[in-house]
Amino acid sequence: MNASKLTAPATGRPARAHRPTVKAVSLLSAVLLVMAAAYLMMGETMYDPVTAWLALWGSGTEDGTMIVQSLRAPRLVVALLVGASLALSGAILQAIIRNPLAAPDVVGITGGASFGAVIFITAFAGTVGIRLLPVAAIIGAVCAAALVYVLAWKRGVSSLRLVLVGIGLSSLLSAGVSFMLAFSPVYSATSAYIWLTGTIYGSSWEHVWTLMPWTAVLGIAVYFHTRTIQAQLLGDELAAGIGSAVQRHRLLLVLLCVGLAGSAVSIGGAIGFVGLIAPHVARRLVGPVMNRVLPVSALFGAIVVAAADLIGRTVFLPLDIPVGVFTSAIGAPFFIYLLYRSRNRG
């Protein structure tokens, strides 16, 4: 029980709520609500709030119900789930590796998930339901993560080597994906390619029900392991000193992280850089303590993906630009900014 003392701010129930956290959570929730409302109202056909609200519950016009209830609402939910999963996955990874540059896409986890999913799509196209797609993606992600970890191992894993090996493996995996795509029938190549960019175009409730259980179960598991994640941040020796089974916990956390990223990629495709940005913003808002960082990152990730998708499908009408284009357009410069800030270290 020493653990709870040493990491008191992380785990002990604080007497008063941490004010920046309360502020951040309420602000982000408000943004989320406004954006969700805008998401349901805006698009090729615009609705006023009342019509949209009625349509959402199926009591509006037939067209409105069709558009809001079966097109926009599931897509919004998928955006939120994917964003939250990627953000949580990134936050966990950054804690395990203790490096702010880590993100599921940087270390090759997303590449592995994409490869698994593309094999699933091209090999079993149409014969097996999409409910199994997350399984294929997660298997791919686990394999990639294991491979990166093994290849980066050399008397311990240095985080920079992990990132470099991740880059190398990612380029191999993306060549594998192009290989699969170049030889699949045209229609599935096109859809798979758009999906690879990261898109939630055409999400249905089927997608929601496919993704929801994974996000829910893994999210709850993360909630119960907040302390473990916090302990990882202390470094191996200190964490062992406070009684954390460092290696065993790390394996568990890697599985959580890979599961979240893999399931998100299986539905939303390789939406880049969300897992990188969200934890940074969260730390900036509420400080480094994990039980605050995790929920704030999840909220922020959900907002980013939904907002990027809203822009993608409204600003360039009649085009529907894949959401991944926007997250990368924001994320890549941000990554470079992080490099710039850390230029005098390591």
């Binding site: 540059l101 896409d105 940087v106 290849l151 980066a152 050399k154 240095s158 920079l160 080597r161 990132v163 470099l164 090996v165 880059i167 190398g168 493996l169 990612s170 380029s171 191999l172 993306s174 060549a175 594998g176 192009s178 290989f179 795509l181 170049a182 030889f183 045209v186 190549a189 096109t190 390619y193 758009i194 690879l196 960019t197 990261g198 898109t199 880049g272 850089f273 085009l319 529907d320 630009i321 894949p322 991944g324 284009v325 990368s328 357009a329 994320g331 890549a332 410069p333 990554f335 470079i336 490099l339 710039y340 850390s342 230029r343 005098n344 390591g346």
Partner: protein, 337 residues
Amino acid sequence: MEINTKINVYRSAGLLASGVLLLASIVSSICFGFIAISWKDMLASFTSYDETVMDQVIVRTARLPRAMIAAAVGASLALAGAVLQSVTRNPLASPSVLGINAGASVAVVAAITVLGIRESEALMWFAFGGAAMAAAMVYALGSLGGEGLSPLKIILAGAALTALFSSVTQGMLAHNENGLQEVLFWLTGSVAGRTTEMLLPSLPYMAVGIVLALVLSRHWNVIAMGEESAKGLGQHLSFVKAAAGVIVILLAGSAVAVAGPIGLVGIIVPHIARRFSGMDYRWLLPFSALIGATLLVLADLAARFINYPIEIPVGVMTAALGAPFFIYIARKERAKE
């Protein structure tokens, strides 16, 4: 002195051997494929071309251009990689890793999908522009602050730039389903189905890049020792860096314009060449050019047979070779520090 000449004799012999190897691989690239071509027909197509003989037409219109393009692109990418590795003093540097190929591709795809340009000569200028943009961004990142980014962080910056460019490329392609397959094949890097007319506009620029790279060999030797030493030896750093930038843009830009972004040739080849030539860039560069050309010709030949009769894009082949190599170098280099 005598030892030196002896080494140089060995090196010359090595160069000669690489040249013979390149020639042999070009000949096999012409002869082997979906239709095997006898070697008499191949010779005849050069000496006494007869349009009525099918095999000779194949040699003239398909196989020879393809082998030539592979050789030219391989040599260009390998030299660009060697020059980058010298200037950045980073064994992982290459046009694909630093995002320069991705920059050229994004410009070409923009020209095709947004502006509807199809002429290969115009596309080449877009490739140069894109390569220049990416090179400028990497350079700006590399010289941030006093010390600049550490060599390894430049790789990370290159990866981020690649991600940025390729997401823009994908965004433009996502809504252009006509010809997606065609562009997709180009985007994985391929030398198949290309005619001599596509190589000819780029060839002068490749040649200029290759000659410049070879002529400035001494400077790559000096800058590879570190900027401080290079300055101490009286080198004009800004001149050498600018020259390196121009060479890389010419070589990588024209290679991408002809064959698409073929990855990871530029990283492997200089390391192989170093085995034969040592660290001296005056020898390293010719070796790199010959080995790069041979490697791509052979990779293209292998790509025809791995999934016979369907051809694999050669970019997939080079990625399959290059990525493990990249990981190997990354492991080795970090161990040294």
